[in-house]
Symmetry: C2
Subunit: 406 residues, 2 copies
């Protein structure tokens, strides 16, 4: 007998038929002898519907009140799911964030979980109920409703799994696992049976949208075994877990593509101490995350500085840089909206050398120019012209032996 | 300076434009120097949309969970209303039932309010906020979400007004007050400036749908002055309040029509002690309210028993009676779906005699046959064939001097 947290995303609860399907899956797990907690998102489209109502009122809504509105999406789903479980012969009880005390800080719309009342959940499980918990929402110390930000239901599920010491957290979605790369880009993409937390983090941060980064971080921190599964098949899915020796034998686990970055170049930046700190400090103050940073060797006491930011932050970034350029007496700014990042990820890189060189050579052989490079211990990313995106992914996928047997 | 509770129904918050209108009205009252609490319903159509989702799952939903689902309707409205108030330059804070502790019993879907935490509301008002409170919902002693039943937002508003000792409770709706009768039936109908709690109760119970009966009972019990006003005009509306001497001078305050009753006749019921108790006890056990009851004088130890029930209870009533008829050895049952009840209401009846006789005579003059009669201290009701409904209302309206000056 195991203690399992199952999380179902928006498409998995997108209509009444699918909610009935969730009920069947949860009851099946319970009949196998497991204790089951279900975490659900809002029905697909619902959060956007609610945000649209808010948007019709004002562009700058009070964030406390916006959270009150959007938290209803998950509340509807827990009620419906508990009703579906009851109608299918199960016992169930729904919990909102404030009922199983998912206590967060007071950062409305992107709150962080501080603690969870495991006893309320244990008590429900001890009554042989399936506990159905609203994802995405919590309550602060003063009893205000908070939400965790987009994709927050994954985080709720992992946090609950950690709090109740679950044996596994199963994330049900509309794909049947984590793939070596996007199957829409590369038909040879293969589903991974296992992937390490760190690889998953790198894959998530470079554009594989299966899991929310915070939920993977949390799973790694609390050693929660995380399964990515499909709501619509019985495929075992992918296990995200601790790295082990076998994983290190694999040089590259996945190839990721991110089309959401924009390259910004500042020309003729004075090569003086503190200038880079000033630029990136100003961006940080506006909560703009910067990714790849490349600084050219200085010529005549001036250097060119290139970095990437998310497309969504482009307007804010321009504001900041346009102010700074005259202040720091730089030459000018160039924004290259056409830009894409291809990355290879694998814990095997730690113990094997030459991986980056092989990547560059592969891109070179295909005639792809590399605009900038960044690396971590288990990742190499190259900025390339976007027209080569698919070609680069397929070439790297083949080069590192990821293609599935034909 | 006064302390005012304003309640806005579903049509008054039916879209974003109307929610902005609510914000304007509440801020206007605050700028006049009043402390303002706003109670809102779900946006019109929303509760039905949610119940439809539940209905697609099962005909017999778990009632605790159904309350979790439908309570979201009001939650969305409080968030949107608070955002609208903020956007219009006001200060506001929303409260769900569990946040200002509207504690109810645990009768899901028709819970009754036990107490309210006035301090939470006072604290909000002391911060110069407009407190925006979700109608229709509460929380039981165990922290479960409850709802108060259809029209429960009126009850919430009056209960809050009583708890915080408000100077007035204003019920905003899509009509501009309480009328002497339905203006759609009788063009001469006149808006009442004042009506007593007891008259309002009788009018509400016989089909004038402006206010929910429980809210009027509560207002009477706690002496809360209740205004019925239109959201869409600045008309002062109708004040529902304590009876005073001037009201007694008016013989009849209103004429009400109820088309939702069905007449059930049981023939040849044994005229023995306990038989009537058995019949009405069985109906009561199924929570069926019985209205007009007429028992004919017994012939040969048998009597005919006629009563009315709401149309919605007809199926349940038939089940009960069909079982009972052979048990009590009665002759048979006849259900007359075509039936309507016309009533005259007025506190002046207490001190004036002959009102009922004048009513019967008026109906007789129009050739209307009376099928059954029931009375209270301040009301006379007649069951008549439905084809005469409008004629009866207009004739009585004229007879008792209610027609407005042409």
């Amino acid at each position: 007998m195991a203690l399992i947290v199952q999380k179902y995303g928006g498409t998995s609860v997108g209509d009444i038929g699918r909610i009935k399907n969730v009920a069947r899956k949860a009851i099946a797990a319970q009949r196998e002898g497991h204790k089951v907690v279900v975490v659900v998102s809002a029905m697909s489209g619902e959060t956007n519907r609610l945000l649209k109502l808010v948007g019709e009122l004002t562009e700058r809504p009070n964030e406390r009140e916006q959270d009150v509105v959007v938290a209803t999406g998950e509340q509807v789903t827990i009620g419906l799911t508990a009703i579906a479980l009851g109608a299918a012969g199960g016992r169930a009880r729904s919990f909102m964030g404030h009922q199983c005390r998912i206590v967060t800080d007071s950062t409305f719309s992107k709150a962080r979980i501080k603690r969870i009342d495991a006893d309320a959940i244990y008590a429900s499980l001890d009554r042989a109920e399936i506990a159905v918990i609203a994802g995405f929402q919590g309550v602060d110390e003063d009893g205000n409703i908070t939400t965790l930000g987009r994709g927050g239901s994954d985080t709720t599920a992992v946090a609950i799994a950690a709090a109740i010491k679950a044996d596994a957290c199963e994330i049900y979605t509309d794909v049947d696992g984590v793939y070596t790369t996007d199957p829409n880009v590369c038909r040879a993409a293969r589903k991974l049976d296992r992937v390490s937390y760190e690889e998953m983090l790198e894959l998530a941060s470079v554009g594989a949208k299966v899991l929310q980064i915070r939920s993977v971080e949390l799973a790694m921190k609390y050693q929660v075994p995380l399964w990515v599964k499909s709501s619509f098949t019985d495929d075992p899915g992918t296990l995200v877990c601790e790295e082990d020796a076998a994983m290190e034998d694999v040089l590259v686990s996945g190839v990721a593509l991110d089309r959401n970055e924009v390259r910004v170049s500042i020309s003729r930046v004075p090569d003086a101490p503190g200038v880079a700190a000033r630029i990136f400090g100003a961006l940080d103050q506006k909560a703009i995350s910067v990714d790849v940073i490349v600084q050219a060797p200085p010529v005549d006491g001036k250097t060119d500085l290139t970095f990437t930011v998310g497309k969504a932050d482009l307007v804010k970034t321009k504001d900041v840089i346009d102010h700074l350029v005259p202040e720091i007496q730089a030459g000018g700014v160039q924004v290259d909206e056409e830009c894409c990042k291809v990355s290879i990820v694998g814990v095997g890189m730690r113990t094997h050398s030459g991986v980056a060189a092989r990547m560059f050579k592969t891109l070179y052989k295909e005639g792809i120019n590399i605009l900038a490079i960044s690396t971590s211990e288990i990742r190499v990313s190259c900025l390339i012209p976007p027209k080569y995106a698919e070609l680069a992914v397929r070439a790297l996928h083949t080069e590192f032996g990821l293609d599935q047997a034909a």
